[in-house]
Symmetry: C2
DNA sequence: CTTGACCTTACCATCATTGGAAGGTTTACA
DNA sequence: TGTAAACCTTCCAATGATGGTAAGGTCAAG
């Protein structure tokens, strides 16, 4: 399988596959005589694992750790759960932050006439008035 | 006022003040004979405006637009409200995305024993099993 | 045999921010 | 007056994850 086919099969772009290889997240695959990377089903499986982890918001570093645990048949599920739980907490912190912004902005937008007049509580707030 | 004092007065780091100047978000200030930047209260006010806009999650580009509107006394508040409203929508989209991740992860974490055994529904999900 | 679709490496850009190095200036204190 | 600390200056590099592009080699179908 060429890198393009592996990309289509995994949902990870060829560009990112090369990048993941360059940072050591995945192993360098064998090459053909003409220097093309060659992938098999196992590699695609790994790429899909990575894709899914990234989709769930895990950083590449966390993904590397999860990948290591996945490939370690003697891992304790507690370790995985701990990473997931910490990630959930980080996501919830982020959500709370964003909701704080939303709350403030909604209040300001609600107070703003939004017409042709220049008076604008949104700008007043930004200016600290 | 030196850049360090302006930084302390505005909450924007000296580093970022120089950066904002370099990208044209703020005007280049006067300099002393020894080439030090000199700021006054107006400049600090602008920096605080920028700081507040960034805190509310506006991009630097959006901040530049808001700054322009702030300094245009004939602006229509509708224009500002439109930007704020669009930004609220973007934030809410992001929140929904994150909450989707949280929902999935909580479900998986709930199903995972989190003990010394290797069986782990979290990894199984990531692997696509 | 040519054409188009692939592959390769090697850069550059994004976005906002931080860090550091190397060197000049100002201030405070002995 | 000397000096050391705390400033300031510019320039360059890195972050994280990805997209883009350019220059060149390869493969497969017509």
């Amino acid at each position: 399988m060429n890198i393009g086919q592996a990309a289509r099969a995994s949902g990870v772009s060829a560009k990112m596959i090369r990048y993941y290889e360059s940072i050591g997240l995945i192993q360098a695959p064998l090459r053909t005589d003409s220097n093309y990377r060659v992938y098999g089903n196992d590699e695609v499986h790994v790429l899909r694992f990575i894709k899914r982890a990234r989709t769930l918001g895990f950083s590449v570093d966390e993904t590397a750790t999860l990948l290591g645990l996945w490939q370690d048949r003697t891992r304790a599920s507690a370790e995985v759960k701990q990473i997931a739980t910490a990630h959930i907490a980080a996501l919830e912190t982020k959500v709370a932050e964003l909701l704080g912004m939303v709350r403030t902005l909604k209040h300001l937008a609600h107070c703003c006439n939004g017409d042709e007049r220049p008076d604008c509580p949104i700008l007043d707030d930004l200016a600290g008035d």
